[in-house]
């Protein structure tokens, strides 16, 4: 059964096409993740090794998922697109009933794993599911995406999960889905005038949402704070100021592994999840942060190469969705810790602590690997 799942990987024809550079970048990022999680939580009671070990387990499960997904012909997944789409919506609805409330949000489904407090986060999987279903939809639409009505239909395709996620609420993930939509319809050939028009309408709607209190006060505060963190240095601006202080204090070569002053003093809340980059920035400095950026650049470059080289439209669309997913996460997460992006909760891919996010990302990378292996249409 297991061997059957990964059998295609052993076909010499496909095996030769495995993207080794991508796998290298994934493994490197995982190593960075384990180190950063360890030191981020070392100062907490019961932290340190516990979180790092759990993340290690998440990664092992994630690697298996990645390999299994890569082994499959990606078109197989799109055949189940309607089921994936509906199943995703149901999971997003389920959290309304099943999730405990944490910091005013309901995003999780607790799983009864003995000895482990594990909560599945369906919105993380929504990211990769929407890439697959939207790709399938866009593939069917073909060049007719240039028609405005079709473009609207693709937006509606994304709108349902976005609304369900906003009910949790989770602004970060909603924005990820919209970014993925934009990246995919842009590559699929949507009329740029339509896209510009929609962005303008979106901006208008945002203004309306602001005025009519559709945005939660904390979300508004985050945007205020983004504009001026000094506005409220002890409150909302605290995160960002402490984060910038930590990263800046890393200077050129960092304060040394495990020696971050801000990290060890636990001055940055959530520094093993959304603010994990502060640990890397503080302890490894500009050199470490630049190497991390380069590793991400390698990963994205492999994704872009896959888009460029794939001769199959479906593969190109899925691949560009995955590239958008990663690029958005990297830029928004790092930008947030550096004070050049508003604080929205998106994890740093493959580095932030968390199982659901890691698995979702690795399924996406599995798809990318699979597309890369099968990029040439005519195979002898």
């Amino acid at each position: 059964m297991t061997s059957a799942l990964i059998a295609p990987l052993f076909e010499p024809r496909l095996r030769k096409q495995i993207d080794r550079a991508l796998i290298f970048s994934v493994v490197a990022l995982m190593a960075v993740s384990l180190y950063a999680i360890y030191f981020a939580t070392a100062a907490q009671p019961g932290g340190g090794l516990k979180y790092a070990l759990r993340q290690g387990v998440f990664f092992i499960i994630g690697l298996i998922l990645m390999v299994v997904v890569a082994a499959q012909d990606y078109s197989k997944f799109t055949r189940y697109a309607p089921f994936l789409y509906i199943g995703n919506a149901l999971l997003l609805l389920a959290v309304r009933v099943l999730s405990p409330e944490i910091n005013g949000a309901r995003r999780w489904i607790p799983l009864p794993i003995p000895g482990m407090d594990f909560k599945l986060q369906p919105s993380e999987f929504a990211k990769v599911i929407i890439i697959l279903t939207l790709a399938a939809y866009l593939a069917r639409l073909g060049p007719s995406i240039r028609e405005f009505s079709n473009l609207i239909k693709t937006l509606l395709h994304v709108a349902l999960p976005v609304i369900l996620i906003q009910l949790q609420p989770d602004l970060g993930t909603s924005l990820v889905l919209l970014a993925i939509w934009f990246g995919m319809v842009f590559l699929a050939g949507a009329d740029w005038r339509h896209l510009v028009g929609m962005i303008l309408v979106g901006a208008l709607l945002f203004g309306v949402a602001w005025q009519t209190n559709l945005l939660k006060p904390y979300q508004k505060d985050r945007i205020y704070t983004f504009i001026n963190p000094m506005n409220d240095p002890k409150g909302d601006g605290y995160h960002v100021l402490q984060s910038m202080t930590a990263i800046g204090g890393g200077q050129v070569s960092g304060q040394g592994l495990g020696h971050g002053v801000q990290t060890n003093g636990q001055f940055i809340p959530e520094n093993h999840t959304d603010f994990i980059f502060t640990v890397i920035g503080e302890e490894t400095g500009f050199v470490g942060a630049a190497i991390l950026l380069a590793t991400y650049a390698l990963l994205l470059a492999r994704g872009i190469a896959t888009v460029a080289e794939s001769e199959d439209a479906l593969g190109r669309l899925i691949a560009v969705g995955v590239v958008t997913l990663f690029a958005f996460h990297i830029v928004v997460n790092m930008g947030m810790t550096l004070g050049i992006m508003p604080v929205v909760g998106v994890p740093l891919p493959l580095i932030s602590y968390g199982g659901s996010a890691a698995w979702s990302m690795m399924v996406a990378l599995g798809l990318l690997l699979g597309i890369h292996m099968r990029r040439h249409k005519i195979l002898f």
């Binding site: 073909g142 994205l300 050049i340």
Partner: protein, 641 residues
């Protein structure tokens, strides 16, 4: 092989085999060739966007880590450092023999470090809720205390003098009580209780106006600190307060101390060794008990203050009882706060005759051998001035010994009021002595000029100075007002041959290693400039007052030690009954004086005090204590006034 719906960049060459998707096939139109190019252009645009965004991230990293790195790092360093002030122990105060007058005792106290409290209001509330029962007060009381004591980001004391058990409980629960700290704090004690209360002063919470004073601020004071108030505590606060140190702690984001990373030791306050002799002070206070008055003893050789007592007195430890209730303050402290030795100026009566004598001698009105006749009174202007008795023939010696008024009326009328006043000022009367104590009064020496100004100011049409006023002045009555300290220094000047010293309470200050950091240097406020035979004549008269056959101050005499003195009884005007303040000034040993004393008994409730009968026994007890003569000598001698 290809069994999927394909959108190929090129028109599909073979129809799809998937029959189930036949409905879709119609929509799967082949893409025109230019769409491949479009796709490639758009991909390049996406790549460009990603490159731009990554460049922005890298640029921002460069800015924060390399351009601002140094600033950010020091910010992070100061973020985690907190200085906890280490108060300097206040200096001790001892008498000249090292007997403790003011000291510190350890007390446990609980305080809040506002910087260490949780950032969220609800979390802070939780800390307060847990703390209140631990220190045994209600949540409301705790919050009131915090509001009252909060100043900036200083530590807020919430409970003082807590038991060791409470302290232990707070330390145990420290992880649940971020921002709450406990420590040992010194508390001031005055082990002698009410003895020398006025002189020592006390400490009290610093006032905002004191904190605004740069001179006080540089001593390291902060709000809620105690500062010296009154007496030596205030006058020498700068020596006593020391310099606070600090302990630097590494803290985490919740303000909890992680570890000590440095310390600056506080400089303890200096120990002040006073010139005061506790035994003499105690003798004075017990002799004054039940009366209103003061007793001052100085060393005529340098102006050191050997004793400075004021009655009634109070226990300065009451000030340290926090909170001191309004009622306790009104009944136990406030009525007794006046330091009569330096803050009460009254007519000195016949003790003033040492001044009139000096004026007469120096201005040439009399010589030691001038004789006058006292018939029991004399006519001055329109008034007849009586003497205590008919003294008959008197010279200076007899006039001083028997306190003949008529003799001094003649002298003063001869040298004129202005000159008598000038001599009073030479003796240091009518102006502050410069003692190292706060709140000293100067008193008053009248002159015809001052009298006229005052009368004009009061709207009195008669501004003239009458000879009767000169007569009154000559015997220390009327508008003459002196403090007991001034009179002690004046008699001291007679004793030492003419030097009026600036008095000093503090002898020296010693740092924690016992090194002298401050020493009071003798300083003359004025020199009388009398010829030796002139000063000798006055000394002779004072000796005769105690030891001579006609003397008024026999009750001050001691076995084996020659005492010289002068009594005074200053009558109060206006009362229906006869009432007078009792005064006595003296020095001893006559041949080589080491102590000069002034006793003042205030006719507070119409008492009729006399220098010989009431005041001189007080001095006698002080002398007995000073010369360690024991109880046998302290019985009262014969009294003549």
């Amino acid at each position: 092989m290809i069994n999927r719906a394909v959108i190929s960049p090129k028109p599909p060459t073979t129809p799809t085999r998937s029959s189930g998707q036949s409905g879709m096939i119609t929509r799967l139109r082949p893409l025109p060739a230019q769409d491949t190019e479009l796709s490639a252009i758009r991909l390049r645009m996406l790549v460009a966007a990603v490159i731009l965004l990554f460049a922005a991230l890298l640029g921002r990293l460069w800015y924060l880590q390399i351009v601002q790195g140094e600033t950010m790092k020091s910010k992070a360093e100061s973020n985690r450092r907190r200085r906890v002030r280490d108060s300097a122990p206040r200096g001790l105060i001892t008498d000249i023999n090292g007997k403790m007058l003011a000291m510190n005792e350890a007390q446990f106290s609980v305080f809040i470090d506002p910087g260490g409290l949780p950032k969220k209001k609800e979390d802070r509330e939780l800390v307060y809720q847990q703390l209140a029962p631990l220190i045994g007060i209600s949540l409301d009381e705790l919050k009131k205390t915090i509001d009252k004591n909060r100043v900036g980001s200083n530590a807020i004391p919430v409970a003082e003098g807590v038991s060791q058990q409470i302290l232990a409980r707070i330390m145990e629960n420290r992880s649940r009580l971020p921002g709450i700290d406990a420590g040992v704090e010194p508390v001031r004690r005055y082990p002698q209780g009410p003895v020398a209360a006025h002189l020592l002063g006390h400490i009290a919470p610093i006032k905002p106006e004191e904190l605004a004073d740069e001179n006080i601020k540089k001593r390291g004071y902060r709000s809620n600190d105690d500062i010296g108030r009154d007496g030596v505590e205030r006058a020498h606060d700068e020596l006593l307060c020391g310099q606070p140190g600090g302990v630097f702690y590494e803290i985490d984001a919740k303000g909890r101390r992680q570890r000590e990373i440095g310390r600056e030791d506080p400089t303890p306050g200096a120990t002040l060794r006073l010139n005061l002799n506790l035994e003499v002070q105690k003798a004075a206070e017990s002799a004054l008990a039940g009366m209103y008055g003061a007793a001052v003893a100085i060393d005529p050789r340098d102006g050191s203050v050997i004793a400075l007592a004021s009655a009634p007195t109070f226990d300065p430890n009451l000030y340290l009882k926090r909170p001191l209730s309004q009622e306790e303050y009104e009944t136990k402290v406030k009525p007794f706060g006046l330091n009569r030795a330096i803050q009460s100026a009254s007519p000195p009566g016949s003790t003033f005759k040492i001044i009139t004598s000096a004026a007469g001698l120096a201005e040439g009105a009399i010589s030691p051998n001038t004789w006058m006749y006292c018939s029991g009174g004399m006519q001055v202007g329109k008034r007849y001035f009586k003497c205590h008795s008919s003294h008959g023939d008197v010279n200076l010696r007899d006039a001083l010994a028997a306190s003949c008024d008529v003799f001094y009326y003649h002298v003063a009328l001869d040298v004129k009021a202005e000159r008598v006043a000038a001599w009073a000022e030479k003796y240091g009367l009518g102006s502050k002595t410069g003692i190292d104590l706060p709140g000293e009064k100067g008193g008053n020496i009248p002159t015809p000029e001052k009298h006229a100004l005052l009368a004009a100011k009061l709207g009195n049409p008669d501004t003239r100075w009458y000879p009767g006023q000169t007569a009154n002045m000559s015997i220390g009555q009327g508008e003459v007002q002196t403090t007991p300290l001034q009179m002690a220094l004046a008699v001291g000047a007679v004793a030492n041959g003419g030097t009026v010293w600036e008095p000093h309470i503090v002898k020296e200050a010693l740092d924690s290693d016992g090194k002298v950091t401050y020493r009071a240097e003798p300083k003359a406020n004025s020199k009388l400039g009398l010829k030796p035979d002139q000063i000798a004549a006055i000394q002779n008269g004072l000796r005769a007052a105690v030891g001579g056959s006609r003397g008024t101050a026999h009750s001050a005499s001691l076995p084996g030690i020659a005492v010289a003195g002068k009594t005074g009884s200053a009558e109060l005007r206006g009362g229906a009954q006869k009432a007078s303040h009792g005064w006595f000034i003296c020095y001893a040993p006559y041949e080589k004086p080491t102590i000069a004393i002034c006793i003042f008994l205030e006719s507070h409730n119409g008492e009729n005090y006399h220098g010989g009968a009431n005041a001189s026994p007080v001095a006698r007890k002080m002398l007995a204590a000073y010369f360690k003569l024991g109880d046998a000598a302290t019985g009262s001698g014969s009294t003549v006034d």
